[in-house]
Structures are given as C-alpha cells and as structure tokens.
C-alpha cells in the first residue's frame, strides 16, 4: 500500500522511506511519539500532500495520479476538530453528505451507533458541543458517505477516558462490518486495541506486528521491580553498572539490562544484591516478557530517555 514514501519540509525530513501494507478490513494502528511523521503519512494517503519520493496506493489507486478517485472513497478525520462551528450538528452532517452526493438517510444505518448519541443535539451549533461529542460528530461526518477506508489521525486527543474507550469499541464494530481503518495514536493502550500496529519514530517505521507480538522482539533482558521508596529506587537503578534504561510502569519499575542474551536469573540475582547493598528492603525483582509499551519506550529518542 505504501512504498518507500518520503517527504521533506525544507530541511526537515518528516518521512524517510516508509513502506507498509494494510489488509482489507483491518484495524491498523500507527503508533509513535509526536513528530514521528504519522500526520504527514496520513496527509499523503488522503492526497493532501504529495510524496517527494516513493509512492502510495489507496484502494489500489495511486495517491497522486488517481487523487480524485481516492477522494470520493475515503473518510478522513484530522486530529484537530475541523468542522464548521457556526453550523449546527445536522447542518454539518448533511453538508458533508451532500458534498459526496448522498444524504444522511442513505448513510444512517452506518453512522447510527455513533450519531444517535448526538442526535438529541442536532440543532445545536457544533462549537457548543463537548470534546467527546465533537469527536462523534467528526466521525459521523467522515462516515456518512460510506467510505471504503477510514483515516483517523489521533482521533482521541482532548477526549476523556470513558469517551475514548467507547470510541475504540465503536471502531471495532466498524471494523467488524468490513471497513478498513487506519488510525494513528500516541497512546500505547490504544495501539493495543488494533489488529496490527506499526511503530513509528523520526519518520521511519521500526516494527510492524500484532500488538502482543511487538514486545517479543525486545532485544534486551527486562525486569519488573517493586519496592518502597520508588523514586530513590529508580535513581539508584539508573546508576547500576549495566542499566540500559529504567522507567516507572504503574506500580512497578521496568529495568532493562544492557547485556543481550545474558541469563536473566543471574542478572536478577545481581540486582537483588545491588539493591540490598544500597539499603532497600523487601525489593522484588522479576524477569518479564516485554510488552508494546516497553518497545515503545525503547524506541523513544535518546534525549528524552536520559532527561527524566
């Protein structure tokens, strides 16, 4: 679907040779920190910008040559709310329906699970809606013409946790109805809910896999450590001679050792001894399998890793 696509803005290389393919009917996630190039990639796929190098195909259509054919078959929801605030909910929806030559009624069954929740406010002006309702309206507008593929660029920024979970439930329902969905997100818990995830960083794709598998290729031994005095524990662990990285993870600390292929039990023993020597009591050290978040942290740019 995307082959070696690249884009630069002046001296900044936003996207450097990205290639991947999305299957029909798949919920595909692009995960990565801000500035990874997710939005640029979306803008190429939705024909808003042209790639400088490489090519992109959407629904078998070339993103440059067949731009106009693509435009009538995709749904796009940009990260920033971009509907008309001075028009009502219903006016926005019916405007986007008629632009595609259809009506709300014809697309109603598809958008019903989402739109029915904001329908009571159909006569309200769009800028008077809450964040979650705006997002539902935006999704309805992107869906009302029954697109064959849906592009959602960081759809849940500025939305509360409950609405976020609901939103992802709705995406799963849409996926189950056969719609192909491409979604970008900076949140790992959301990436976990995709069928497949591409991890992006600094304009490159680092890994593509199903979310549970992404951690399995974690290159270094990883340990979960719990104990009192968490902050001092974190600082002391970072000072350990073979520490690669240490991050707080919920109630635990995740410690990565820089000795690849070393026996985890030996390292665990060393760590216990080291922490005991530093005066920590009741510290538990456990060798664990890496998850997607560990992979993601590992992929974060080095300056951020050292900063905290």
């Amino acid at each position: 679907m995307v082959q070696n696509a690249g884009k630069r803005f002046g001296k900044t290389e936003a996207l450097s040779g990205v290639s991947f393919e999305v299957n029909h009917g798949e919920l595909f996630g692009l995960a990565g920190p801000d500035g990874a190039g997710k939005t640029t990639l979306f803008r190429i796929l939705t024909t808003l910008v042209l790639p400088d190098t490489g090519s992109a195909t959407v629904l078998g259509l070339d993103a440059v040559r067949d731009m106009w054919k693509i435009r009538s078959r995709v749904g796009y929801m940009p990260g920033k709310f971009s509907l008309y605030g001075d028009l009502t909910v219903k006016e926005n929806l019916s405007f986007f329906a008629s632009v595609f030559g259809t009506t709300i009624e014809k697309g109603y069954d598809l958008i019903a699970p989402i739109y029915s929740q904001i329908e009571p406010f159909a006569e309200r002006r769009a800028d008077a809606l809450s964040g979650g309702m705006k997002q539902k309206l935006a999704l309805s507008c992107a869906l009302v013409h029954r697109p064959d593929i849906l592009f959602l660029d960081e759809p849940t920024t500025g939305v509360d946790a409950v609405s976020r979970r609901e939103f992802w439930d709705q995406l799963r329902v849409l996926r189950d109805s056969g719609l192909t969905i491409l979604v970008s997100t900076p949140y790992m818990d959301e990436a976990m809910r995709c069928d497949r995830v591409a991890l992006m960083q600094a304009g490159r794709i680092l890994e593509i896999d199903i979310p549970t598998e992404i951690g399995s290729r974690y290159p270094l031994p990883l340990f979960a450590i719990t104990g009192a005095e968490r902050y001092r524990l974190l600082l002391e662990l970072r000072k350990a001679s073979h520490a690669h990285s240490v991050f707080p993870f919920g109630a635990e600390l995740h410690y990565t050792d820089d000795r690849a292929g070393f026996d985890p039990e030996v390292i665990a023993g060393e760590l216990r001894e080291y922490l005991d020597y530093k005066g920590f009591a009741n510290v538990q050290v456990k060798s664990i399998q890496a998850g997607i978040e560990d992979s993601f942290m590992e992929l974060m740019p080095p300056p951020l890793q050292k900063a905290s």
Binding site: L48, Y76, P78, S82, L83, Y84, D86, F95, V99
Partner: protein
C-alpha cells in the same frame, strides 16, 4: 454534477454569512456611517470666515461692500476699527481670518475714476482655506462692482492677484459631497470585496476545514466560485444600499444609467475579489490576511484620486494610477453619476477593469492551485 456541488457549497456559505449577525449588521451600517462621516466631516468647503474690517472711508460705497460680504453668508465681521495694528493682532490671535482694508479715498476714487483699490489680507497658514476664502471674496467684490458699474481692484496680500472666472459644470455648486460620495462607495466595495474574501478563505485554512474539504470530491473551481459568488452579491447589495443613501439622504444626482453603474461594479468586483483570493493564498492566518489587505487597499485608495487629484501627483505615480483598478472605477462612478456618461464614454476604463479582472483572477486561481493539491 459540478453544479450540484456548487449549489451545496453556496448554500453553506450563505448560511454561514446569515449566522454571523454582527457581520451582517456591520455590512448594512457601513454605507450609512461612512457616507455620513466622510462626506460631511471630511470636507474642503469653507463655511464662514471671520473678517476684521478697517474702514477708513465710512462712505455709502464702503458700507455697501461690507454689507454684500456679510449678506453672502461667507463672511462675518468679527471686529472693526481704523487701526492696522489692531487688525494685525486679530489675525495673529485667530479671532479673524481675513482683514479688509478700505482706504479713505475709496468712494471718491470710484466716482472720479470709476476704479478704486481695497486690500485683503489672509491668514494663509492653511493654504487651501485661504485660497477658497479669497476666491469667495473676489466673487462678491466683482459682483458689487458690476452692480455699481465700476471696477474695484482688490489688492490681495500675500497671494498674488488671481482672476477667477470659474464655471462649475456637472457640479455647479461645487458640492464636495457630490464629488466624494461616488468615490466612497467605491472604497466600500473594495473593502468588502478584498478584505472579506481574503478573511473568509483564510478562516477555513485556520479552522482546518479546508483540509477536510480537500479530502472530498469538491473541485477547486467549485470551491473558489462558492467563495466568490456570495461576497460578490453582498458587495452589489452594499452598493445598492449605498446608492439609496446617497440619493435620498444626501441628494447626490444620478444623471447616468444605474444599470451601467452596476455593470461596471460587477466587473470591478471581479478584480477586488481576485485580489482577496490572491492574498488568501499568500497568508496563513486571518490576522495576516487583515494586515496585508489593509496595506494593499490603503495604497490602492491613496493612489486612486479619491482624496487627492491624480494630476497633481508626480509622473511615476500617475503611471501607477493608470493601472490601478480603483482609479478607473472611481472615474466611471463619477462620470456616470455626475455627468450622465454613457457606456461609450467610459469604455476605456471599463476595458481596463475587465482586463485587470481577467488577469488578477487567473493569477489568483493559479496561485491557489499551487498552494493546495
């Protein structure tokens, strides 16, 4: 297919304009307030000049002259004495703007030689004001002389003697309003056409809705047409309101064909809207759009002959004015409204407007195509 999309877009544009009540009200009030302020406050007309009288003759004839001056309503005698010094003081402290000195042999000379001299001294700090007052005085004095069938030669100081023999055609009362109002209407259309167009398009950029629209099958041409047509109609409606105010509130004559006025306005608006579109392709925010528009409009207006005559500009500026669409439209408006000019009389200006319209719009559309895929 395309027409259907255009209709959908137009509906949305008109709906948004209708929602913006503040803007609507302002657009309706603008012709009233601008015409009212600019035409009555910004005027070169001189109402009444204060005159200090030094009458050394005290004769029938000298009294007759001062009576005539006062009766005209242009002059008001604010002080009188036989002293030159006192007169000078009143000029200095601005209690008078003019000194009239009638020498003691005024009547005698009139009777004997049928000719006499008087002296008028003006405060010429404001050159334009002194010039206008001087020409009023000369007219009145000349009329009085004709009445007496004698000649009175006013010796004017410090200005040299000017013989005025003006006849105002098309605007016989030299009414400033009649001259200014057509120009002010042009300025109004320019503001609506250029500024609102630039702001309206840039607003969609700022909101991000432009991106959203670009991921739909809306053709560029339909988008641009849907942006320009509503503002084009609003500007024409604005002109209609402005003309009504001008006719009924200010009594501006409309000697020529109103159809021609609206025809010329329709062409001129293509230029104004095109410039707005061009500005919108070059900027990212409404603030920038506003700033750039004001800059462009100000230069256009200053170089248009609206406030200052083009003939008194340096040569290079006259050349610039020749390619300034605002200048041509003002000329057409003044010619048609005040002189009753027909289409043949303004054909050259119309041609230049049409040409600029095609040029600006083509450039703007091409530029727009370049900045968005």
């Amino acid at each position: 297919m395309k027409l259907r999309i255009l209709k959908v877009l137009l509906r949305k544009e008109y709906l948004q304009i209708y929602r913006d009540k503040l803007m609507l009200r302002q657009m309706l009030m603008m012709p009233f307030i601008q015409l009212l302020l600019l035409s009555s406050a910004a005027t070169f007309e001189v109402k009444t000049a204060h005159l200090y009288l030094v009458d050394r003759d005290h004769s029938e004839s000298s009294r007759g002259l001062t009576d005539r001056l006062q009766a005209s309503g242009r002059f008001h005698v604010s002080g009188a004495s036989g002293s030159n010094n006192l007169a000078d003081v009143s000029l200095l402290n601005r209690s008078a703007g003019v000194i009239l000195v009638i020498p003691h042999d005024f009547e005698r000379n009139l009777v004997r030689t049928r000719s006499a001299d008087i002296q008028l001294i003006f405060n010429a700090e404001d050159g334009a004001l002194a010039g206008v007052t001087s020409s009023y005085a000369q007219q009145i004095i000349a009329a009085y002389a004709r009445e007496l069938t004698v000649s009175i030669k006013p010796v004017i100081a410090p200005a040299p003697q000017i013989e005025v023999r003006a006849r105002g055609w098309y605007n016989p009362e030299l009414s400033y309003k009649d001259y200014m109002i057509p120009g002010i209407l042009v300025q109004l259309l320019t503001l609506v056409g250029t500024l609102l167009t630039a702001m309206n398009i840039v607003r969609e950029k700022e909101l991000g809705t432009l991106d959203q629209l670009n991921v739909t099958p809306i053709p560029r041409s339909a988008f641009i047409a849907a942006k320009l047509i509503p503002l084009w109609t609003i500007a024409l409606a604005e002109l209609a309101v402005g003309l009504m105010v001008a006719r009924w509130l200010f009594g501006v004559p409309m000697r020529g064909s109103l159809v021609l006025v609206f025809f010329a306005a329709s062409i001129y608006l293509v230029v104004a809207l095109g410039i707005g579109l061009l500005i919108s392709t070059a900027v990212e925010t409404q603030q920038q759009a506003m700033f750039v528009s004001f800059f462009v409009i100000l230069i256009y207006l200053l170089m248009s002959g609206l406030f200052t005559p083009i003939r008194s500009m340096p040569n290079w500026a006259q050349w610039l004015a020749e390619v300034n669409p605002v200048k041509h439209f003002i000329e057409i408006m003044r010619a048609v409204l005040l002189k009753g000019a027909g289409i043949a009389d303004v054909a050259r200006s119309l041609g230049i407007l049409a040409l600029s319209g095609v040029l600006v719009l083509t450039l703007a559309v091409r530029q727009y195509a370049k900045t968005s895929t």
